[in-house]
C-alpha cells in the first residue's frame, strides 16, 4: 500500500499563556490526541469543528507554522519539522494554503500580480518572462477570470470573489500535492461559493489533495470525500461524508446537522435549542481532563460519560464503512 500523503498521529497541542499577575500560567489544551490520515490518492478531506475546536491550530501544524506538543505529524513519511528545516523549498512547493480572508491575504502595498509572479519566480516555474506571463494568463482563465481585468490592479480594486479566485489561480500554478484550505468561502457570498468549491473539487483531477477546514458542515458535505468532526480539541467522529451526514452517530454530529438552517421554509427547526446548556459549554469549562468532551451538552449523557473519555473506535454494525466514533453509546 502506498504511503499516506499526510499522517497525523495522536497530535496534542498545548498553549501556555504566562501571566505575571494573579492566576499564574494559563494552559489551554487546543488539541488532544487527534489522529488523521490522508491516503495517497487525491481526495478532499473535511475537518469540521466550531471555533475553539482546534481546527485552525491543526492546519497550522500541517503547514509547519506551529509545532505539536505531542504526537507526530508526517508528510510523505517524514516529519513536518524535518521538511521545514532541511527541505523547505520543496515542502512549500508541495504543501500550500488558501486562507479565509480575501482582504487580508494581499499586501495592500503591491498589485495583485505580485501574488502570482512571486510563485512563478520563487519556484522557478517558467524559463523566461514570456512563458511566465502565459502561465499566469492561463491560470487566471482557468479560474474564470479575465487577465486584462485583473492584472495591474490593486487588491482594493477587486471584489472578494475575484481575490479568492486569484488565490486559486496561484494554487493552480503550483499544483501542490496537498492544499490546506482554511474556511476559504466563509467570507464569500452564497452565490459565489458553489463556483469556488467546484474549482476546488476539479483540482482533484490535477492531483491536488485538499484538507478543507470549516465550521460549516453543509460545505464540508458538498465538497468532501471524508469528514472528521472535532469538538474542543478531540476527535468525535470521522468517516465517509455520505455516511456521516446521512447517518450521524455521535450526538454532537447530530446537533451540528440539525442546526444547519434549511433553505426550505416548509421545514424549519422544530425544537428550540436548550440555550442554557450551550451557554455552559461556551464558557470553556468542558475542557477538563476526565470525561467526554461533550458530556456537559449531550442530550443522551450517561454517568459513565462524565468520568471516562470514550475512545475512538469502530462501531458495531458499521464495520464495513471505514468510520470511527468516540462515544459510549456504541459500546
Amino acid at each position: 500500500m502506498a504511503e499516506p500523503l499526510l499522517e497525523l498521529n495522536n497530535i496534542a497541542k498545548v498553549f501556555t499563556r504566562a501571566s505575571f499577575g494573579v492566576g499564574g500560567r494559563k494552559t489551554v489544551q487546543a488539541l488532544d490526541d487527534v489522529t488523521l490520515i490522508l491516503p495517497d490518492k487525491p481526495q478532499v478531506f473535511a475537518l469540521v469543528g466550531e471555533s475553539g475546536s482546534g481546527k485552525t491550530t491543526l492546519s497550522r501544524i500541517v503547514i509547519g507554522l506551529e509545532q505539536p506538543s505531542g504526537g507526530t505529524a508526517l508528510y510523505r513519511g517524514r516529519p513536518v519539522r524535518d521538511w521545514v528545516r532541511r527541505h523547505m523549498k520543496q515542502y512549500r512547493r508541495e504543501v500550500q494554503v488558501i486562507f479565509q480572508d480575501p482582504y487580508a491575504t494581499y499586501n495592500p502595498f503591491y498589485r495583485v500580480d505580485r501574488v502570482l509572479w512571486s510563485v512563478v519566480r520563487n519556484f522557478h516555474l517558467a524559463e523566461n518572462k514570456e512563458r511566465g506571463k502565459r502561465m499566469i494568463d492561463g491560470a487566471l482563465e482557468a479560474m474564470g477570470l479575465r487577465p486584462q481585468e485583473i492584472l495591474g490592479r490593486y487588491p482594493h480594486q477587486l471584489s472578494g470573489g475575484e481575490r479568492q479566485r486569484i488565490m486559486l489561480a496561484r494554487v493552480y500554478l503550483l499544483r501542490p500535492k496537498l492544499l490546506v484550505a482554511d474556511e476559504p468561502v466563509s467570507m464569500l457570498d452564497a452565490s459565489l461559493r458553489a463556483m469556488f468549491l467546484d474549482h476546488l473539487q476539479a483540482f482533484k483531477d490535477l492531483g491536488v489533495s485538499c484538507l478543507y477546514i470549516t465550521h460549516d458542515l453543509n460545505v464540508g458535505y458538498f465538497i468532501a470525500d471524508q469528514i472528521l468532526i472535532l469538538c474542543l480539541g478531540r476527535t468525535v467522529e470521522w468517516g465517509e461524508s455520505d455516511h456521516i451526514v446521512k447517518d450521524p452517530l455521535h450526538p454532537y454530529t447530530q446537533e451540528l446537522i440539525s442546526s444547519i438552517p434549511n433553505p426550505n421554509p416548509e421545514k424549519k427547526w422544530t425544537e428550540r435549542l436548550q440555550a442554557e446548556k450551550i451557554g455552559l459549554n461556551e464558557l470553556r469549562q468542558a475542557r477538563t481532563a476526565a470525561g467526554c468532551i461533550y458530556a456537559q451538552r449531550c442530550p443522551r449523557v450517561m454517568d459513565k460519560c462524565r468520568h471516562n473519555n470514550p475512545p475512538l473506535k469502530r462501531v458495531k454494525g458499521h464495520e464495513g464503512d471505514s468510520r470511527e466514533v468516540a462515544c459510549f453509546l456504541y459500546e
Binding site: 471555533s51 471584489s159 438552517p261 434549511n262 421554509p265 427547526w269
Partner: protein, 324 residues
C-alpha cells in the same frame, strides 16, 4: 395593513474622485408590526446602507440624495439630532455588522448595557441595572453574564449580548445587520432563535440583513431581495422560496449548496460595481431571460400578485410572458 416602518424612494450616493456614484436607487419597502423582514442580496447591493439610513447614520463621503423613512408616519430623516436621539435605541435599535467585536474589552457587560440605557433614557442607575438584567433574560442569558467581561464569552454569546443590548429599552423595531454571519452553526441557530423569540414573545419587529438565504428561510416572515442598489423582489417567505419570480431570486436560490440539495450552480458573471451600473435593469447582463427592453428601461417595482412585488419586465404588460 398599516406599516410600522416604511422606506420610500431612498437614494443614497457617495462622493468619489471620479464623481458622485449611486449606492441605492429608489429603494422602497414596508415593515409591519410583529414580523421579521429579511433583506437579502450579495455584498455591495446596498442592503447595509439602507438599514444605516433608517437611523440616519450616513456620514461623508456618503450622503442621502432623497427619500423618506417613515416610522409610524413620522419622517426620521427630517428629525433634528436631538429628536433622533430619542428615537434611537428607544424606538428603533440597531445591531451593526460585527458588533460582537465592538464590545468594550475593559468594561463588564453590565456596565456597557447600563451605559447605553442611561444615555438614551431618564432611568436611574439602579433602574438601568434592572433593565440590563431583564434585557439579558429576554435573550435567554443568565444574569451571571452581566458580571463578565467580553473576552470571557465566545463570539456567539457576545452576539447574543449585543442583541440583548438592543432590546434594553424595549424598542418597537430592531435592525440587525448580518447578525449571524461570523458564527458557528450552533451559535447561529441560537441567535436566530433568539430573534424569532423576540418577535413571538415580545412582539418586536425585526429587520434582518443577511446574504444567507437559509437564514431567511428559517425565521423571516417576508423577504426583500436587493440587487445592485435596487429592490428586485419582495414577498412572503414561503411563496417566494417556492416560486421565485425575479430571475435574480431564482439564481440566488439555486446557488445555495446544502445538505438537502447537493447540486447547486452559481449565477454567471460578476456583480456590477457602482462605478459602472448597467443601463436599464441592472441585472440584465447576467440574466438568461433578458429581453431588448431590459437594457433600455428600468423595470418598476409592481405588485404582480397579492403580497408579491417584483421589478422585472417579464411581468409587465409590454414584457409579455407571465401574468399574475
Amino acid at each position: 395593513m398599516e406599516s410600522l416602518l416604511e422606506v420610500k424612494g431612498l437614494n443614497v450616493s457617495v462622493r468619489t474622485i471620479a464623481g458622485n456614484m449611486n449606492i441605492t436607487d429608489n429603494v422602497s419597502f414596508g415593515v409591519y408590526e410583529k414580523e421579521i423582514l429579511g433583506i437579502a442580496g450579495e455584498s455591495g447591493c446596498g442592503k447595509s446602507t439602507v438599514v444605516e439610513t433608517v437611523l440616519n447614520l450616513i456620514v461623508a463621503p456618503r450622503y442621502i440624495e432623497s427619500g423618506q423613512v417613515l416610522l409610524k408616519g413620522r419622517d426620521l430623516l427630517t428629525l433634528s439630532p436631538r429628536d433622533l436621539q430619542n428615537v434611537r435605541w428607544k424606538e428603533v435599535a440597531y445591531v451593526p455588522q460585527g458588533s460582537m467585536n465592538t464590545l468594550n474589552p475593559v468594561l463588564k457587560i453590565e456596565e456597557q448595557i447600563v451605559d447605553a440605557i442611561i444615555c438614551h433614557s431618564k432611568l436611574s442607575k439602579a433602574q438601568a441595572k434592572e433593565a440590563a438584567v431583564a434585557a439579558l433574560r429576554s435573550v435567554g442569558m443568565s444574569p451571571d453574564v452581566a458580571r463578565m467581561y467580553p473576552h470571557e464569552l465566545s463570539g456567539g454569546m457576545r452576539q447574543r449580548v449585543c442583541i440583548g443590548l438592543s432590546t434594553a429599552l424595549k424598542p418597537a423595531v430592531i435592525l440587525a445587520d448580518e447578525p449571524v454571519t461570523a458564527l458557528d452553526v450552533v451559535m447561529q441557530r441560537l441567535n436566530l432563535e433568539t430573534l424569532a423569540r423576540l418577535r413571538d414573545q415580545d412582539g418586536i419587529t425585526v429587520v434582518m440583513v443577511t446574504h444567507d438565504m437559509a437564514c431567511h428561510a428559517e425565521i423571516c416572515d417576508r423577504v426583500c431581495v436587493m440587487y445592485a442598489g435596487r429592490v428586485a423582489e419582495i414577498g412572503e417567505t414561503r411563496t417566494l422560496f417556492a416560486e421565485p419570480l425575479h430571475p435574480y431570486t431564482q439564481g440566488l436560490l439555486r446557488a445555495v449548496p446544502s445538505i438537502q440539495n447537493r447540486h447547486s450552480e452559481s449565477i454567471p458573471g460578476i456583480a456590477p460595481s457602482p462605478t459602472a451600473w448597467p443601463k436599464g435593469c441592472r441585472f440584465h447582463p447576467r440574466c438568461k431571460q433578458a429581453m431588448e427592453i431590459c437594457s433600455r428601461e428600468v423595470p418598476p417595482l409592481r405588485e404582480i400578485r397579492p403580497k408579491r412585488l417584483v421589478a422585472c419586465h417579464l411581468y409587465n404588460a409590454e414584457g409579455g410572458a407571465r401574468n399574475g
